[in-house]
Every structure is written in C-alpha cells, then in structure tokens.
Symmetry: D2
Subunit: 309 residues, 4 copies
C-alpha cells in the first residue's frame, strides 16, 4: 500500500518525502489519508507510480460494529464519487480479482456478486429509469478456475469487447502492518501494478495495458507472516528494554535494516505463510457488503437505493 511505502520511506523523519503530498483527516472512526505522488523521483523512492492514493483506515473493523461499517461505507462512497465522472452515460466495468476458493482472495468475486449490473438492461427498463442509470458490467474471472489463460488476458479481452469507459478493479492485498488487516481500504487512480495482490497477478491492470482509466480498490486481507515476526520481536524487546542490550542493537538499526535482519534469519521459513484473522470468512463478507454498497451508491447517484436492493 502507498501509505505503508510512505511510512517506511519517511521512517522517523518529521518531514514528508519530497514529491509526495499527504493529507490526513479523521471522522466517525475512519482515518482518511490521501497520498499524492507527483514527481518522478518520488515514484522511485516509494516504489509506486505517480497518482492519487486514498487510504481509509478502520483499525477496529474486525469488531464488526454496524455503525463503523456504515461510516466506512459512507466515506468510501464519497471518495469513489470524486473519482468517477459525473456524467453517468459512461459505462463502467467492475472487475473482482482473486479466486473463489481461497477465502482471503475471495473479496473481489464477492463484491462483484453485490454489484447492480445494468449494462444489459438498456432495452428492458422504462425510459425514465434508463436515463438515470449508468451502464455497469461486472466480472470475476478468477471464478473460472484453471483456464490456462492469464486472468489479466481474460480481462483485457473482455475490455476490448465490452468497451467500458472506466474499469474499477477490486483486489485483496497483503499488508505489512497488522492494523491494516481487514481494516483498511485503499483507492488508487493508478490501476494495479505487477507484484501486488495475494496471488500472483503477474501483469499490470492499468490504463496503458487496458486503454481505459483504471481505479483500483485494494483491501488487506492477509499479513505476511514475516510482519508478525517483526512485530513480535519489536514488542518483546520493548518489554524487556530496560535491562537488555538486545533492544539497543535493534534500536540502533533503521526499520529497513531491522527488516533485513529478520528477512535473512526467517525469510526462507516464513515466506510461504500468510496470516489471516480466524473469522476471515465473515469479515470478508462484511467488507464485501461495504464495498458493494459504496460502489452501487457511487456508480448510481441518480437511482434510489430502494430501486436496487
């Protein structure tokens, strides 16, 4: 996530990374951080392409508080509306990445199930409704199982036929920070770049590769186990701090050096593991509810919720 990249790059420094603008607000338990990467140098430093990244953090989402769920949904709707063209004539293709069978990776397909699909209704609905309805299509290619074809080739093929004006891609991400696990939604106007995601998406899903703008929505559904290890060591050392030289050694290391040490010692053993909440299945559904409703509201500003629910 862009926000994590920025935290790592900035480290303990008080100043912002050059070429990066950050704005943080907080309301009703949702922390909204907007990160703007606007210079080429910053791009390299952050390891993320230039663009606008918004992260909505709700660290206690796992407690399943309905009010927080609603608050996150409302903020998300607002953020999406800002990124979407006001004109509802343009058609949108919602793509749920990830695969059906592995729960942490199933977020995308589950959001797709909740999307109000309207693109094929043109001839059927009354004119009155038709004029207020944005044409929306939605696919979850990962549910096709083993096809022998890259998921992203399938998407590219569908985009070339369905010719949407905009693609919104939903993906499950791996976070470094435990607090972001199923408590953090990132929206970026840059699309999805190689190497992100739980599974191996391999190719990018971007305006360059698809020919239309791509908004990416990412939710952390797993944490790398190495992050767990790092946090464990940090906290234990902290606890024993006063009389233990160990902490001094760690303290003298920059976070990236610390990570390097841990990677070296534990990497080969931990790299194939992932950490998820025990209630992952229910939490993925909660999050799919939030994303599905926010997307429907943002995509169909001129329909009333009662018209689709």
């Amino acid at each position: 996530m862009a926000i994590e990249a920025r935290d790592i790059v900035r480290g303990d420094a008080k100043e912002e990374v050059p070429g990066v603008r950050v704005k943080e607000t907080q309301d009703q338990g949702v922390v909204v951080t907007e990160v703007e990467i606007y210079e080429e140098a910053a791009e390299k430093l952050m390891g993320k392409p230039r663009g606008h990244y918004v992260t909505l953090d709700v660290p206690t989402f796992k407690d399943r508080d309905p009010d927080l769920k609603r608050a996150l949904m409302a903020k998300l709707t607002d953020q999406l509306k800002e990124l979407l063209p006001e004109d509802i004539q343009g058609s949108v293709l919602v793509v749920g990445l990830g695969n059906w069978n592995a729960t942490p990776d199933a977020l995308g397909p589950r959001v797709v199930e909740r999307i109000l699909v309207t693109r094929h209704l043109g001839q059927v609905v009354p004119d009155d409704i038709k004029q207020r309805m944005r044409p929306v299509a939605a696919v979850a290619p990962g549910v096709l199982g083993t096809t022998g074809i890259e998921t992203l080739d399938i998407i590219r093929g569908i985009v070339s036929e369905a010719k949407p004006d905009l693609v919104i891609a939903i993906d499950a991400l791996a976070a470094r920070n435990l607090d972001r696990l199923l408590g953090s939604v990132q929206i970026a106007d840059t699309g999805i770049h190689p190497g992100s995601g739980v599974g191996n998406r391999r190719q990018g899903l971007t305006e360059e590769s698809l020919g239309v703008p791509v908004i990416a929505i990412g939710v952390c559904t797993v944490v790398q186990s190495i992050s767990i290890a790092q946090e464990a060591i940090h906290q234990i050392a902290n606890q024993l701090a006063d009389d233990v030289a160990f902490y001094d050694i760690l303290k003298q290391m920059a976070p990236t050096e610390q990570r390097g040490l841990i990677d070296e010692v534990l990497g080969s053993r931990f790299s194939e593991l992932m950490v998820t909440p025990k209630e992952i299945d229910m939490l993925i559904d909660d999050m799919a509810d939030v994303l599905g409703e926010a997307l429907n509201r943002a995509l169909q500003p001129r329909l009333d919720a009662s018209e689709w629910a």
Copy 2:
C-alpha cells in the same frame, strides 16, 4: 440438429435432399450419421449452413450402461480426431457454453471441468512431455454469472487475447425428437449459429465472428414440450386408428402442417416449458464424462491417459 432438419425436409420421400449427402453406419450400439450440406440451395432448404455434421445416436444412453458409455466415447474420440489438425503444436480453446445453475444447461461447464488444461504448463513440465502436449485452454463463461456482457462477447474477447488456432464449443441443445434426449451428440465444423441452444445465445460463434475455425459439439439435454404433445397425439391417434376419423385428418396432414396445428392450439401454453429426464443431473454428468474423456484423448493423442487421469 442437422439430422432432424434433414428428416423433416426429406419427410416420407425416399430420395435424399439435393445438395445434401448422408452416410449412416452402426457399430456397438452407436448410430453414426454424417450429413454433408454442400450446396447453397440445400443450405436454405435445411436452415443450416454448409458444412459437415456428424450425429452419434445412442438412444439407450439413459439406461447408464457402462459399455455403451465407453463405445460412445471411443466413436466420439475417432470423429474428433478426424476434425482436429494432426499437428499438436496448434493451440485449442475449449468453450463450455451454458450456465452453472440450470441443470440441463450445465453440460458445457461440466465438460470444461474435465478438460486437461495445458496451455499454462509450457514452462513447468519437462521438455519430453512438453513436446507431446498440445496447448489447451478451457473456459466456461456462463459461470461468471450475470455480468451485463453477452457471453459471446466475452468469448470473442478471450479468443482475441489467447489467440487459439481452433475453438471447440460445447453446448446444450433442445431436440424435437424424444429419442435424442441425452442420447445424441452432434459434431459440426460450422460453429454455432444464432437461435440454437437452450438459453438464448443470440450471436453466432463461428469462424466469421471469431477469426478461427470453430468445431461445435452439441448434446440434446431438453426436448420442447410441444414435441411431447405432438408425439402423444400421434401415438394415441395411432392406437385408436382403425375406427377413428381423427387419425384420418392427422394422416392427411404433412408433418409440418400437423406441427402447425399443434403449435396453434397449444403453443402459447406450452412454449415456456421444457422436458427433461428425471435423472437429468446424473445423466449430464455421464455425458460430461464421455465428452471430457473423448476430448482429452483426441486433443492429446501423444499423451497416455495415465499421464492426466
């Protein structure tokens, strides 16, 4: 089905329809009828494009006799091998039409599940196997659910990206004749044309629309209820024939006139109904076994069955 069209066109005439060549053989309980439509006039008369149609009939497939299943599989393998290029370097995309949820329409997706998908294995398998392995991909776009995009647009998109040398499309058909219900497989080198199929596929899946040759495999999984009605009337009348004028009236009518009368009287009431065997679920699985194995054998002539089972 081409064979039904020909039976209707030919009616009680002893002669073949002009521009159509028919060859029928029978072996181990499987009746193989090859219909060649080779003239434009015949095309119109038959309501089917020029091409090669092979129908394999096993009227007692519903009895679930393992020997018959094997015999059908073997004949099917032979017929497919004749249509496939000998060179196994060319890649093939198997497309299972139809949708997951409606049993009679689920044949395509169930066959796709059984296909040995190899297209993505290029880098992984040893050279020895790789040289004997045809690249095969397989998709069942109907399982994507409501997408707002025509299934056939999705296929066209996938074809344009995956660039197969040949497409094999599997579809569930509606038969007129009760004997063909889950006892008849049709292979055609003409692709799939509008109006066929259980659901409404609307567009064609042909070399013209996809840019590569399309082999269509169709299996009758439903019968129109009007066909049931027609057969019922015919047989009852037959039974009462000797002393009943009713039969005389029907007898004086051509089959198409008979059908017209029945359509007129029952059409609006029966047109929304379909007839399936009670054991449809098991029979669809049996047929998917047969098609899946025949396809794997025909597609991978140089692999041993033990290498994929």
Copy 3:
C-alpha cells in the same frame, strides 16, 4: 396435492366428496382453497390422510409480477400463523427437503438459506430481543450429497437431538395440472407421506415418525410429462370436436379412464420425463423469496422485519 385428488375424485359431480369439506376464497389474485378430510372413508377415497390442507393458487406467478408475489407472501403468512402456536417459546425446526443440484428439487434448500435462524442466539442477544424471538433452527439435509443414509433418517436423528416442538418441512412436488406449476403452494398439517415429492423420499415425515407435529409446505415445481400429453390430446380433440369421432370416444370416458388409456399408450416412454418452465431457476428463487419471508414473518410475529433483513 389434496386439491387435485379431490378434483379427480369429484370429477364432474356437483357434490362434494363425503367426509371432505372444501372452502374457496379469492383475494388479490390468490385463490385459497381449504380442504378438510375428516372421515376415514374419505381418507381412502382421496388417497390422503385426514387433516387440513390449504392450497394457495396464483396461476400467473410465472409472470413475475411483484404485486402478486407480495400478495401470495401475505396470504401465506396468515395461513402459517393460524397453524403455528401463538406461544413463541416453542422451538421450530424448518427442514428443506430436496437436493441442491437439480434445480426443480432445490426449493427446500433455497428456502432454508433465507430462514432467520435464532436457536443458537440465546446467549448472545440482549434479553429484550430474546423474549420476542422464537427459537428457530433450519437444515437442508439434501445438500450433504451422497451419504449412504436416507435423508429422512438424518432428519429423524436431528429431531431427536434438537428436540423442536414443531417441524415445518418444505418440499418440491410434482403436479398433474399445468396451472399449478410454480403457481401453487400447499400447506398441510399432516406432514409428508411416502410417494410425494420429486425425488424418492421413501419414508414419511409425520408426527408418528418424528414424535412432533409436522407442517408440510409443498410447491409444484414440475409436472409429469404424461399430464402434458393428456392436456395436449384433450385440447387438440376439443379443437377438432365437431366433426371427429375421436372426441366422442374420449368424451365418453371418465377422466381416470382417459388417464388410463394415455398411461397405457405412453407410460413407459414418458414416465421418466419431467416438465419444467424454461425459467425454472429464477422462478424457484422467486418462490423461495416468498416462502422465506412468509415463514420469517409467521415464525417471528414479535420481531420487526427490519430486525432481520
């Protein structure tokens, strides 16, 4: 269905079958027929055990009119409330018979998915809600797949452990009459008796076998193909009536004789077929919506719909 048995037994007679009381009302497009079988002789004549049968008919349910859907739901709620004990302390087990994979048989499991399950919430919900909440459990044993154990043995086992005060069993039925196909709901306080249902349930699901009262809810989701044949012959003959002796023969036969003739001529050929609407999948979902909501309302009269939706 009891109503069909009564129609057959009564035939063209103007009088009611002795030992049977029938009351018919109509409101908002829903025809409600209450059949009371109260004498042993009537039991035999009707081929149905003594008890109270209510049939709600909506012949045009297949047109998917939302108002009719709502009207049927409301009437159903009323009828169920009359059969349920007012005291909400007693627990109820909802059983969805039928199996997942065969669409016409999937009604029961789909209704179960929509039931507000509360039996396990005792410790969790606030006292205020708890006092207004009837303990409801719900199972669909057919989704277990091939177990080697009779579905009804599984239910009996679950009943002996969960000890509900009442069982409500939902089943898909085969109708004789085309008008009842997905347009007719039957509620009976007699449980389910051998031989009913689409699949082969074999054993009864009754107060005798389970030890608690059983309310059966049945919906016709298929029609026997022989019924289609009968209707076809009847209507065609009718059409040709004036000048055709055939009609006279049929007219002189009682309906059961007619059926007998048709059975004899077509039976072996048609008996393994079933007739369903083409849109069976959507219609089963519509009906599951209606039954699910009616059951939730009837079972939880003291909860507000907003508390569970």
Copy 4:
C-alpha cells in the same frame, strides 16, 4: 496433538513421561511416532485422555512430491487397517468436521467427498461384490451452514439413526509447531475432545457421547500466530546470541515460561490470527487425496481400487 503435548511435557529431559510409551520409526520420508498414554497420572500431565495416538510426519509435504504423497498414503492405510476391525460386516460412518467456506477448515468435507459410500448399495450391487464390501456412510455436517444446531448434536442424531459400528472423524487442527503445518497426520483411538479443532467444536465426539468407538484423524492446517512469534523470537535471539543478554534471559526460562511471557505481551493482539501456507487450497486438496484414498483402501480391503476409482 499428543506428540506436541509430550514434547512440551518432556521438555529437555532425556526420560519419557511416566505412564507414556513412545515408539518412533522412519521409512520413505515418513516419521511414524506412536504415543501410548496408559496411566491416569499421565493423562493429566499430558492433558490428553488415555489411548493410542499415531502421528505421521512428512515435514516436506508442502513441496508436493508425488512419491512422498504416495508413501504417506501407504503408511496411513497400514495404520488405519490396524485400528479397523478385520470383519468388514461392521458398518462405518466417516464424519468430516469443519466447514466448507473457510479453506483451512475444509479438509473434513473434502475427504468426505472422496469416500466410497456403499451403505445404500446393499440392494443394488451383485452378491459377489456385496460380500466383499463394507457398508460405509459419510457426512460433512458443516456444509449445512448455519443451522442453529451444534454440529455435534447433528452427528449424534445421525449416529443414533444410522447405527454405525464405528465412527471415523476427520478434523483440521491447529498446531503449535510450524513443521507440522500440513505435514502431519494424527490418528487417535480416543475420539475428539473439547477444545481441539480450528473452529469451536465445543462438545466431544467420543465413545461416551456417541455410544460407538470413535477414531479421530487430525491434520494440522493452521498454526497459531503466537507460535510464529515464539519461533521468530527464538531464532533471532539465537542469531544474536553471543553478545546479547536478551538470549540469556530467554535461555534461563523454561519453554512454558517463554510461552507465558510471549502470551502476556502479544496474546490479545495475536490470538485472533491464524497462519496458513499461501498454497493452502491446493495443499488441502493434496491432503484430502491422501486421506480419501487411505480410508477407501483401509475400509475396503477386499475391493480392488479399480472397482471404485
């Protein structure tokens, strides 16, 4: 797992825990450890009931080597055959605990899918086969979803109806030791006791509760995240050992004290997390293949594999 309990209890001691007998053998990459707990005192010390526990460890199962898979399957078959009565007349119920939707918990249901179910075939198969066939039933009650009834009550109900002579229960376990994650199968003749398992099974599944002997097969499909933390700290400290006092502190602690410290510091934060391999979905299928085939072979010693595959 019993083997983990024993390792903890024994600690660094060279002697075996009193009242516990342990035998370890190794063959073809599979380490077989038989733990016999035979005294009441040992029962308390180990926190496990008296009985026979066999653990088959294949630490590299995650590498998906077909030879190792076969070796594990063969050893498992042998161990199961020793526990099963030789007489194949006695019927067996295989119970797959765990739920469908959460991958690490789906092992039980996936094994059940692979079991050769024969209990209902009595009337159907020829006498010759019947005499060589043990009646086997199989259920996976977790796939029923939210029923409001405890899974184990459902099993008890089914057992009371189906009256098997033996129950074999398959469950997913949480391991402490990372090496056991999807590389360890435990067979116990003691049934399943409260507190085991990934989900909360709450009640025991034992001869006392079911009235018939229960063989439990457990596979570690998740590791507690606290175990990851412990291992991380241990290994990092080890690495820094020479010049760091931290290690001395940890070294002076007994393993249970170490664990206590870690629990205290990280417990509330880590307790809701679980650790799984990234390829969990494929690995669960691999393991289900192994268990399914071993069970079929052990349960049907007089059938040939070709008769069911």
